[in-house]
Assembly symmetry: C2
Homo-oligomer: 232 residues x 2
C-alpha cells in the first residue's frame, strides 16, 4: 500500500479538531472557545495559525467572534459543518451519480412547486427564454450555460429560495465536472428535442399541472444522465 502523502497544514488541523469537537459533543453550541493566545499555547503554534483556522470557521458560520470578548460556537454550528462536508462530497467525483440523481429529485420537486406558484410574468419570461434558446440552437451558437437559464428560471418560479440555491450548487458542480463532456455528445437534433420538452413544461406550468410538469422535468434530466453514462 502506498502512503497518501498528504502534508496537512497546521491551521487545517486545528479546523478539523474544532469541527470534530463539535460533532462529538465535546464543544457545545454557545460555549466560548479559549482565546487566540491560549489556543496558540495549547496547540503549540503561533497566533496567526489559530486566527487562520478561526476565520475559516467563521466564514461557514461554525463560530462567531466578538471583538474584545472572544470566539463562541454558533448555536447552529452543525449546519455549517454538515454543509462543509457536503461541499467535499460534491467535489468528489465518486459521487457524480448521486449528484445527478439528486438533481433529478430536486428539479422534480421544483417543477412541481413552479406549476403551483408561477406568476403570469414568470410564464412570459419562460417563453422568452425558450424562444431565445431556439434561435441560438439554429444559429449554432448554443452554449452549455444557455441550457441552464431555463432551469434556473423554473427554480425562481418555485419561490423556494433554499431549493433554488441548492439546485444552483448541484448544477454548478455538474457543469464543472462534466459540462463540456455532455454538450459535446449532444447533437442538434437532441437539443431541439430538449427544447420541445421545455415548451411542454411551460404548457403544464401554465395549466397548473404540477405532477405532469414534474414528470416531464425528470424525463428531461434523465436523458442527460443516459448520455453521461454512455460516454464513460
Amino acid at each position: 500500500m502506498i502512503k497518501p502523502l498528504v502534508r496537512k497544514t497546521l491551521h487545517e488541523e486545528i479546523v478539523n479538531q474544532i469541527m470534530d469537537g463539535i460533532t462529538n459533543g465535546r464543544l457545545q453550541p454557545g460555549n466560548r472557545i479559549d482565546g487566540e493566545a491560549e489556543l496558540a499555547r495549547q496547540f503549540e503554534v503561533s497566533r496567526n495559525i489559530v486566527r487562520e483556522a478561526l476565520k475559516s470557521l467563521e466564514l461557514i458560520g461554525v463560530v462567531h467572534t466578538i471583538n474584545g470578548k472572544g470566539s463562541f460556537i454558533s448555536e447552529d454550528a452543525l449546519t455549517g459543518i454538515e454543509l462543509m462536508r457536503l461541499v467535499r462530497m460534491m467535489k468528489n467525483e465518486n459521487y457524480t451519480i448521486d449528484l445527478l440523481e439528486s438533481r433529478i429529485m430536486i428539479e422534480g420537486d421544483i417543477a412541481y412547486l413552479a406549476a403551483q406558484r408561477a406568476t403570469k410574468k414568470d410564464i412570459e419570461d419562460l417563453s422568452i427564454i425558450e424562444r431565445e434558446t431556439e434561435e441560438w440552437i439554429k444559429k449554432g451558437s448554443y452554449k452549455f450555460q444557455n441550457g441552464l437559464r431555463f432551469h434556473m428560471k423554473v427554480a425562481e418560479c418555485s419561490k423556494n429560495h433554499i431549493m433554488q440555491k441548492f439546485l444552483r450548487s448541484i448544477s454548478d458542480e455538474l457543469t464543472a465536472q462534466r459540462g463540456q463532456l455532455i454538450l459535446a455528445h449532444k447533437s442538434n437534433d437532441e437539443l431541439m428535442l430538449e427544447l420541445k420538452e421545455h415548451i411542454s413544461m411551460i404548457k403544464f406550468i401554465k395549466e397548473r399541472k404540477p405532477e405532469e410538469t414534474k414528470k416531464v422535468m425528470q424525463m428531461h434530466i434523465m436523458r442527460a444522465m443516459r448520455i453521461l453514462k454512455e460516454c464513460e
Copy 2:
C-alpha cells in the same frame, strides 16, 4: 435613517471581493491569483490578513493553494460560493418556512428511494429504532434528538449520500432554530401518533411501495410544520 453600523473586518472584505470577482467572471476557474505579498500590496493590508481570507476560501473549496507555487481558482469554485450563500440563507430565520418546505420535499424523495433500496438489515435497524423510541416515550425520557434517529436511518436506506448530507444540514438548522419549541408543543399522544406513522412507513418500505412511503413521510413532517405555525 440610521446607519447600518456594520464594521466589516479586512479579511472579510477580501473574501467578498474575490467571491464577487469569480461570480461576475473577472476571475476565471484555473487562473492563478496574485501572490500573498502582491495581494497585500494591492489591498494595502498585511500579508496575514490576505492569508486569513485565502485560507477561508480554501476551506470551502473556492481556491486551492500549492506551497511554493501560489493560489488558484478552483474549477468548481462556484459550487463552494453558492453553498456558502446557502449557509447564510439557511441561518437567516426569514427562510424558516422555505427550509421546512425543503425538508418535506427532500424527505419525500428520500423515503421514495429508501423503499426501493433498503436492505434486509436496514429494515431490521428501522424496527429496532422504532421499538427503542417507543420505550423512551413510555418512560417519558424522549428527547428531540431521538426523533431524528429514524429519519436519518431512512436517509441511509436511500443510498444517496448527497441527499443524506443535505437533509442532515436542514434538520440540524431546524433543530437549532425551533427544536425546543416544537418538542415543547408535542403531547405524549402526538408522539405516539408519530410512532404509528413510523411503523406504517417501515411496513411500506418492507413491501417496496415508494409512493406510499413518500406520502406518509410528507404527511408526517407536515404535522410538525402545522405545530410550528400554531405557536407563532
